[in-house]
């Protein structure tokens, strides 16, 4: 679980050696510490013709307390920012680059034709060398599938190629995302901008996120550092690994947490629950009566606000060698039982209005993996479940999203043989594995009451893994 090479490459001797041998030089990722500001350092703002989000962005930057400067392509930014009560200015004098910045934000929502792409070139060409390590880049566009005409849909779809390439090119742990904002969903952006600009999203890169019109009764947290105050959250598989971290981060955010795991995991489960002041439920979610038991527990508790389907198992074998129960167990625990639980909870009204379901898929479900036909089937199924139930659950005011972790440093990955483990760790744009907390932070973002515009999203927490891109 300990990445020795990361420490080595960041030591005085190690850094020299890594240079000399041309080895990857992972840098220590910024991670969120309680009470720290959303972003330390300036945000450089750019945009194409008719950039539509600028007023909303100014409001959000004001709320975040971010310091902004605008590229010369946006001379309209300063009066607009001042109007929102935000101090701002221009980046650089006399067409020279200005100070190093922590984030680049480009509003491409007004682009309606592929011939308008020069503004993107100008902005990223000028700013590429001015982003600090662990910096952030966000490009905002309109969802191609909702565009009024093919030309507009085309240039909007094209943005994905740019952001994914930038994510590989900028290096130094700079994360790049594309956020498609549906028309009318502009006011749903704040939780996403906060997450993507902050160190909370440190291991999320090259992702495409869709923000749509709000689902259910959301709200703006009174205190963004306690975004889940007063919320009841169930975390499955919470006795160790990623699940334990999710429970911990949920508690940090002010939630009341219910930790669930199988009876065999009781010692770990009780330890975590005691440490966090959480309640514990011993239950095999694969059992036939699990959905009903959870509905009863939720109702007895006055209803739950957030369900995190983290429990998951692997039973790796090539399909030719695989016994049927390996196949069935994995499919049941990782997918079928989650479908039954979701349906039961939503239909019974055991979830409160504005509730959130967050699932844990896997990069294997996206890219496939040798020896994991069963696992990849189930994890790709999680993606299918998220996408197909999102519109159904939306009618009940419930959102459903998934995170898809890449290589995360846990007991699960510590069990992988060394050579394969090293490859898994380094084969991404950050040249290192993520930590359980990185997955937890993404889940907390989906769970945020202000994330009503997020449903049906699958966001990878993989440092832009080179496989399955």
């Amino acid at each position: 679980m300990n990445d020795g090479y990361l420490n080595f490459a960041n030591s005085a001797v190690g850094a020299k050696l890594a240079d000399a041998l041309g080895l990857p030089k992972p840098i220590v990722l910024d991670r969120y510490k309680e009470g720290q500001p959303v972003i330390k350092g300036s945000v450089l703002v750019g945009g194409g013709d008719d950039a539509k989000l600028l007023p909303v962005l100014a409001k959000i930057f004001k709320s975040i307390g971010a310091q902004t400067v605008a590229h010369r392509q946006l001379p309209q930014w300063l009066p607009l920012a001042n109007g929102a009560g935000l101090m701002s200015g221009r980046w650089g004098v006399d067409d020279q680059p200005g100070e190093k910045v922590k984030a680049l934000v480009f509003d491409a929502t007004g682009m309606t034709d592929s011939t308008q792409s020069d503004a993107l070139y100008e902005f990223f060409h000028d700013a590429a060398r001015s982003v600090l390590p662990c910096g952030r880049v966000i490009v905002f566009g309109r969802p191609p599938e909702q565009c009024a005409n093919p030309r507009q849909a085309t240039i909007q779809r094209a943005l994905e190629g740019l952001t994914r390439s930038l994510a590989k090119e900028l290096k130094r742990a700079i994360a790049v995302q594309l956020v498609y904002v549906a028309e009318g969903a502009e006011d749903q952006l704040e939780s996403t901008v906060r997450f993507l600009l902050s160190p909370r999203s440190t291991y999320v890169s090259a992702q495409v996120i869709r923000v749509g019109t709000p689902v259910g009764a959301g709200g703006t947290p009174l205190n963004w550092d306690k975004s889940l105050a007063g919320k009841k959250v169930l975390v499955t598989g919470a006795s160790r690994g990623i699940g334990a971290s999710i429970a911990e981060i949920m508690v940090r955010e002010g939630a009341t947490v219910i930790c669930l795991d199988v009876p065999q995991a009781q010692p770990g489960l009780n330890e975590i629950a005691a440490k966090l002041g959480a309640t514990a439920i011993e239950l095999d979610i694969g059992a036939a009566d699990a959905p009903q038991k959870l509905v009863d527990a939720a109702k007895a508790d006055g209803g739950w606000d957030v369900i995190v389907h983290n429990a998951g198992i692997t039973r790796d074998k090539t399909i030719a060698n695989m016994k049927p129960h390996f196949w069935q167990m994995v499919m049941n625990v990782n997918l079928s039982t989650q479908e039954r639980i979701n349906d039961a909870l939503v239909e019974s009204g055991a979830l409160k209005s504005g509730a959130r379901i967050v699932c844990v898929s896997s990069i294997s479900g996206i890219a496939g993996n040798n020896g994991q036909t069963n696992y990849a089937l189930s994890k790709a199924g999680v993606i299918g479940m998220v996408q197909s139930t999102a519109p159904v659950f939306a009618k009940h005011g419930v959102t459903i999203n998934a995170v898809a972790p890449g290589f995360i440093e846990t007991q699960m990955t510590a069990a992988i043989p060394f050579a394969m483990r090293e490859a898994g760790r380094r084969m991404n744009s950050m040249s290192q594995g993520g930590l359980p907390v990185d997955v937890a932070e993404a889940i907390v973002w989906f769970a945020n009451p202000a994330s009503s515009g997020l449903t049906g999203n699958v966001v990878r927490v993989c440092g832009q893994s080179l496989i399955g891109a």
Binding site: S42, Q67, V69, P79, N82, G85, M87, S88, V93
Partner: protein, 429 residues
């Protein structure tokens, strides 16, 4: 012949001020002033606009910056057909520049203009050693290579290590500004305690103004900085009391009252304001913050008559009040530049001194006291710092915004300058 018109202050801009040799140590006057003007252009959407004039200056200037203001204009998005020129009146530069532009507008010579100033003591011009300078000039006049080498051979390594640094001192007295202020504090019996109290208030007021977002539309960040870095929001009177006197060695050994805490530090920064006729503002749909209605300059004979070097504003203000037909108490806000806490306190004390007002200022009675709760209420130079030529623009914009927020009223600006000069003005709404 035109009638005299009211001069509207539309807005201002400055970059955060920074202590010398800190965050702007690599920035030039040119860069800082360009950024400041550009911020003003951006704020009021003046891209491509031909302004009537842009006037400004710097106190510490490289010879290559002979056309500093015009060069800065050319680097902005203003029309390159905007004329500009440099002036210099020490710490009075910024306010004097505003007065020049205002007078042109008042007389109908121009419709709009910008005025400001910039200074850096980080990127200050360093003169080569005087002997070395003579040798270099001789060598450049030489007719043959042999002659040139002959001249250059006179150079000695010592010349390189003793360059001529710019000094913040009075050429005629050999005293620094701080030493002069220390002398004034002694003459007027200004206590260390009062000076420290004024300094503390300046910091607390400036910090509160930032917290309230007062400067949001008066400033643009520069080099990643968004707040004056001299500001100590957590300053305490104990901290100020603990500082050692800084200017007493020559003038009052071991009896000094001026410290680094109640004197302004050397500072880098720039500021500018946008002035216009009411017609121009209306045509552009730009609201007017306030009007610049009166101005006055004065100078004292600090050499032969041994007047306090920084006492000239004490003379300028009553002369301006007489022209305006108002008294010192008829103001809602007082913006008295805090070169030194002692300077402010000496001026206020002098105005209450019957003998001084009669004998020196030629008045028939004392001007009297002011309501101190109206003094520098959003902080002043002790907290913000004092980039010489940039202070005037900072104060004009700050006061204009205060008058606009209040809706109506009158404010007094008083700035002392090297050479025994004082530059003062009245803003009204």
């Amino acid at each position: 012949m035109n009638t005299i018109r009211r001069v509207a202050i539309i807005g201002g801009n400055r970059i955060p001020f920074a202590r010398s040799n800190s965050v702007y140590s690599s920035a030039s006057n040119q860069e800082m002033f360009t950024a400041t003007l550009q911020g003003l252009v951006d704020r009021f959407n003046l891209h491509g606009e031909r302004l009537g004039d842009v006037v400004g200056g710097a106190v510490m200037k490289h010879s290559r910056d002979f056309n500093l203001v015009r060069e800065s204009v050319l680097s902005t998005t203003l029309s390159p057909q905007t004329p500009a020129f440099d002036i210099q009146q020490a710490c009075g530069t910024g306010l004097e520049a505003a007065m020049i532009v205002a007078n042109k507008i008042a007389l109908g010579h121009i419709e709009c203009g910008m005025a400001g100033g910039v200074d850096t003591t980080s990127d200050a011009p360093i003169g080569v050693n005087e002997k070395m300078r003579k040798i270099l000039l001789e060598a450049s006049r030489a007719k043959s290579t042999g002659q040139r080498l002959g001249s250059l051979a006179k150079m000695r390594p010592g010349m390189l290590v003793s360059p001529t640094l710019p000094r913040n001192g009075e050429p005629r007295t050999g005293y620094s500004m701080g030493e002069h202020a220390e002398l004034m504090a002694r003459e007027w019996n200004i206590s260390r305690e009062d000076q420290d109290a004024l300094a503390l208030k300046s910091h607390l007021n400036l910090a509160r103004a930032y917290k309230d977002g007062f400067f949001t539309d008066l400033m643009t960040p520069f080099k990643g900085v968004a707040v004056d870095n001299n500001l100590r929001a957590d300053l305490t009177i104990e901290k100020l009391r603990s500082l050692k006197p800084a200017f007493d060695k020559k003038v009052a050994p071991n009896q000094g009252t001026l410290t680094a805490g109640n004197s302004t530090p050397l500072t880098d920064g720039a500021s500018a304001v946008l002035l216009a006729s009411e017609e121009w503002a209306a045509a552009k749909n730009l609201p007017v913050l306030a009007y610049l209605s009166f101005s006055e300059v004065a100078a004292v004979d600090f050499f032969d008559k041994k007047e306090g070097l920084l006492m000239a504003p004490a003379y300028a203000v009553p002369r301006m009040l007489a022209r305006a037909g108002i008294s010192l108490q008829d103001f809602d806000f007082y913006e008295i530049h805090e070169a030194f806490a002692a300077q402010v306190l000496c001026t206020l004390k002098a105005w209450q001194d019957e003998a001084y007002c009669k004998e020196k200022l030629g008045l028939d009675k004392a001007l009297g006291a002011i309501d101190l709760s109206k003094l520098n209420i959003n902080g002043s130079s002790l907290a913000a710092g004092h980039p010489f030529a940039a202070t005037g623009g900072r104060i004009v914009a700050t006061l204009a915004k205060m008058l606009n927020q209040k809706g109506s009223g009158r404010g007094l600006i008083s700035i002392c300058a090297a050479g025994g000069q004082g530059v003062v003005a009245i803003l009204e709404k």
